[in-house]
């Protein structure tokens, strides 16, 4: 299948590269070449079974990013650093501004524009940027390549060795109606502890923009990093996120992925547990209503011995929506003594909604503990009945049960940050869906 239109993308890529250091310009060119050569994924590839890749192809080069963010999210409002170590806002893939709590600025942690960092902090950025492209078999690499060529900007978060951030780094990202490509890099050096909370929204509910974004996450030896993604795009937005992570010896990566919006979402998250003792915990919640098509793929690769992972993705589908979850779990011969568990639960709230689940195990050695489980069902009548005997209306009982279903992930969101907002959105959606 040919990729079109390529020529405007070529010139856009060159234009973006003009302000970049040579090594980054070269990486962009290489990305574009791979994208042009590789073509689009085939529908026959199972990861594209439920989503036509053609729908993700941008019709034009990235539009010029908007320079005004608009209203700040409520949790940004107090203007102090009481809840966060740093705040940053990004628009259409470009970091507009970032502020670090001055009281802890001496710790040397960075929240910066990625392209600026690529120029000024080459030693920190160059070895890590694009370094994860080929991990996990390069799954999904083609749109990755496109985003590499075209990205307009992004955020660089760097937490130095041994630093503990007691409050999260809070990033808000907003996109408009055009095509945006962004790339971010999060580096947690050895023995550090940090949390990054990113939310993504549409500038206007009716914006029908497309966002390709790639986020690379490096978790150093013994580091503990939690990353929370909250996606609440408008109904007409298209989102193609690729999040690639690599965890070193005894490091722990916790991710919480919340997907509430977007008309079409095709998400890929890969984690390479690269050294012994590395661990990943991945929680996901998906609420699909209206005509949303939310397609989430995860790939956990136990590339080293004695690594462990635990994944729990939960989706509720309402309206005429569709949620697809494809979870791949691989323990190669090098991953002896690893343990890996996955669970995918789907709550079907409407006859017209659809939930697909493909949990995959690829186990190439015997000394492992590995399992997965999937359950798809409507709200349990007994639970509903029980809640109603406690005096709740049927609608409230439903809300309570669905929120309870999502609670294990919601409670991992740092307090005062987005969890209440997410609950409100869920309650509103549930009110409309019932």
């Amino acid at each position: 299948m040919s990729v079109s239109p390529l020529s405007p993308l070529v010139s856009a890529s060159l234009a973006r590269a003009s302000g970049d250091p040579d090594w980054l310009a070269a990486a962009r060119a290489a990305g574009l070449e791979r994208y042009a050569k590789g073509g689009l994924p085939s529908r026959a590839e199972h990861l594209w079974r439920y989503t036509d890749p053609v729908r993700l192809v941008p019709g034009s080069a990235p539009s010029d990013p908007e320079t005004r963010f608009g209203d700040l999210p409520p949790d940004f409002a107090d203007g102090t650093f009481e809840r966060a170590s740093a705040y940053a806002i990004a628009r259409d893939g470009v970091l507009l501004r970032a502020a670090v709590d001055p009281l802890i600025a001496h710790l040397g942690f960075l929240v910066e524009d990625l392209r600026a960092a690529a120029a000024s902090r080459r030693a920190l950025v160059e070895p890590r940027l694009f370094a994860l492209r080929d991990t996990c078999d390069g799954a999904g690499g083609r749109f990755d390549d496109l985003a590499a060529a075209l990205f307009t900007g992004g955020t660089f978060v760097h937490v130095p060795r041994g630093v503990t951030l007691d409050r999260p780094v809070r990033i808000a990202h907003r996109v408009g109606g055009g095509f945006a490509a962004s790339r971010s890099l999060v580096v947690a050096e050895a023995q550090c502890t940090a949390t990054v909370v990113i939310d993504l929204s549409s500038a206007a509910e009716t914006d029908a923009g497309t966002l390709h974004e790639t986020i690379e996450i490096h978790v150093g030896r013994g580091a503990e990093l939690r990353v929370v993604f909250v996606q609440r795009l408008g109904d007409r937005a298209t989102h193609a996120p690729v999040v690639r992570s690599r965890v070193e010896r005894d490091g722990v990566l916790d991710t919480v992925t919340v997907a509430l919006g977007g008309g079409l979402v095709k998400s890929l998250q890969t984690v390479e547990l690269a050294e012994p003792g590395a661990r990943a915990n991945a929680l996901g919640i998906v609420f699909a209503d209206g005509r949303r098509h939310l397609d989430h793929h995860t790939f956990l690769d136990h590339a080293a011995p004695s690594t462990s992972s635990d994944l729990d993705y939960r989706a509720a589908v309402a309206g005429r929506s569709r949620s697809s979850f494809t979870g791949r779990l691989r323990i190669p011969a090098a991953g002896a003594r690893s343990s890996a568990h996955q669970s995918n639960r789907n709550l079907v709230l409407a006859d017209t909604a659809r939930a697909d689940a493909i949990p995959e195990l690829e186990i190439l050695t015997n000394d492992v503990s590995c399992s997965h489980a999937v359950a798809t069902s409507p709200i349990d009548e007994e639970q509903l009945h029980f809640a109603m005997t406690r005096g709740l209306s049927p609608a409230d009982a439903r809300k309570l049960i669905v929120l309870g279903f999502f609670e294990p992930a919601l409670e991992k969101i740092p307090p005062g940050m987005l969890a209440d907002g997410v609950r409100e959105v869920l309650e509103r959606k549930l009110g409309a869906a019932s």
């Binding site: 689940a357 195990l361 050695t365 359950a375 798809t376 069902s377």
Partner: protein
């Protein structure tokens, strides 16, 4: 079972049964699997390769009706047009040389193979299974007399009286053309996949079973399929129709290994379970380890019907087989129970498909896979619940046992749920033989080899207990042979 606990009583019982009954294996092999040759001249073998001329020749040779001849030709075009599947073990699939296969063989005299040429491993297996001397030569292809067509047991007179038809597919087409024409290819159209197209073009043999309304066939109907001429493809075509309220158990068995060079086996099996009927289809396949076994099996279950696939896969180089049940009538039920054993250089890519179309349909899938010596076991499954299948219940359980660090297990289940009021559950585990369990058994005086075998037999007990006794015993015996030398 969970491999980390001590053996359950069922496991212990299974092992004891293995020990006590294994001695008797083969004692009545001839009676059970005895062949008789009721055809006279065997004199046709197509040249290697596949084209319309071959298809024409097969159809003319068989003196088939025009519609079948046309279907074969149309299917050949579909086969040639369809690309090779890009999923599964593409590398092995791409190794198939379609030009180097005989697509139809009926004669048998030509091969000059002698008993000395039969590999030691195969001879040893015959020995261990206790297969009689004459039978061994037959199974090893030394004195083989039966080729692409089904050899089936004499139909007992009481079946005739009941109006049960149990014959090979070619005879079925000749003698029951109307009913064959009405149903043949309706469950699996030739366009379904590349190999169903191939089968439709060159099929030969297989079984045709028709059970009239309300008739319950008490004894299992058994057919014996095998491959034994070098580079010979085998393309059986089976159609089983259980009319309203009837019951039948069909056994397609090949417990003993057969010996041939690379060969292709690509069967199509269609089951039609009319309202209130029950079909159980039991298979044990043990092709020699260079055979491609690429099979399409699919059943339609109407209201209140029950279809059971009991499917065991031991041999072959690559097996791709996913027995399917389409539950199109209310309260229809599907049961798919399978075991796959993958040894050195083997890939068992097996699984199941259940498609819930009607309300209150139910299905239970149980899959057990064992890999050893670098073997690869893949479970590939589909659960699809269509809109309107309210009250559907699906339960899938896949367990894999990996016996050494070089072996592999994959689980690729797909669940597509398009209806609200359903309950779909899927669970899979992958594990090794539990150290604690081994230790426990060895502390009771078993060698490591014996203990491992006991655990493996316990692991597949849910499957073996559904088999007729003689098959269960043979299966356990075969597993024991496969296990030999793996530990200690």
């Amino acid at each position: 079972m969970t491999p980390d606990n001590g053996p359950t009583p069922a496991e212990t019982a299974a092992a004891e049964r293995t020990a006590s009954e294994a001695r008797d294996i083969g004692g009545d092999y001839d009676r059970k699997y005895g062949f008789h040759d009721d055809e006279s001249a065997y004199d046709f073998k197509s040249k290697k390769g596949l084209d319309h001329a071959i298809v024409e020749m097969i159809s003319r040779y068989k003196k088939e009706p025009e519609w079948m001849r046309e279907r074969r030709h149309a299917a050949l075009d579909v086969f040639l047009a369809k690309p090779m599947p890009r999923w599964g073990n593409s590398k092995l699939l791409d190794d198939i040389d379609f030009a180097n296969i005989h697509y139809y063989v009926r004669a048998s005299e030509r091969q000059g193979k002698t008993w000395e040429e039969v590999p030691e491993q195969v001879k040893k297996t015959f020995d261990r299974l206790g297969i009689p001397e004459a039978e061994r030569k037959f199974l090893a292809g030394v004195t083989a007399q039966y080729e692409s067509e089904v050899v089936y047991h004499s139909i007992r007179e009481d079946l005739d009286k009941l109006g049960v038809v149990f014959t090979d597919m070619d005879t079925g087409l000749r003698e029951h053309e109307e009913i064959v024409r009405r149903h043949w290819g309706t469950v699996i159209p030739s366009e379904d996949n590349k190999f169903s197209a191939l089968n439709t073009a060159v099929w030969s043999g297989g079984s045709f079973v028709y059970v009239p309304k309300g008739v319950k066939v008490e004894i299992p109907l058994q057919a014996y399929f095998r491959i034994n001429t070098e580079n010979m493809g085998q393309f059986e075509r089976t159609l089983i129709i259980a009319d309203e309220g009837s019951q039948v158990h069909y056994i397609e068995g090949c417990t003993a290994p057969t010996y041939s060079s690379d060969s292709l086996h690509s069967a199509v099996v269609e089951l039609i379970a009319m309202p209130g009927s029950k079909i159980r289809y039991t298979t044990i396949q043990n092709w020699s380890k260079n055979v491609y076994n690429l099979v399409t099996k699919r059943a339609v279950a109407h209201a209140g019907a029950r279809v059971e696939w009991i499917d065991g896969n031991l041999g072959s180089k690559l097996t791709m087989k996913y027995p399917a049940v389409y539950l199109v009538g209310e309260r229809a039920h599907a049961e798919i129970l399978s075991v796959a054993f993958s040894g050195k250089d083997q890939h068992q890519d097996a699984g199941s498909k259940v498609v819930h179309v009607a309300p209150n349909t139910t299905s239970v899938v149980t899959s057990k896979s064992i890999s050893k010596d670098g073997g690869r076991g893949t479970y590939r499954g589909l659960v699809k619940v269509h809109k309107g299948a309210k009250g559907a219940k699906v339960n899938v359980k896949c367990d894999a046992l990996i016996l050494d660090a070089a072996s592999r297990s994959d689980t690729y289940p797909t669940m597509e749920v398009d209806e609200k009021k359903v309950a779909v559950e899927h669970e899979a585990t992958v594990s090794k033989v539990g150290d604690e369990q081994l230790f426990f058994l060895m502390s009771r005086g078993l060698t490591e080899e014996e203990a491992t075998l006991l655990i493996v037999n316990g692991f597949i007990e849910p499957f073996t207990k559904e088999l007729p006794m003689e098959y269960a015993v043979e299966l356990n015996r075969l597993i024991q042979l496969e296990m030999e030398g793996s530990v200690g």
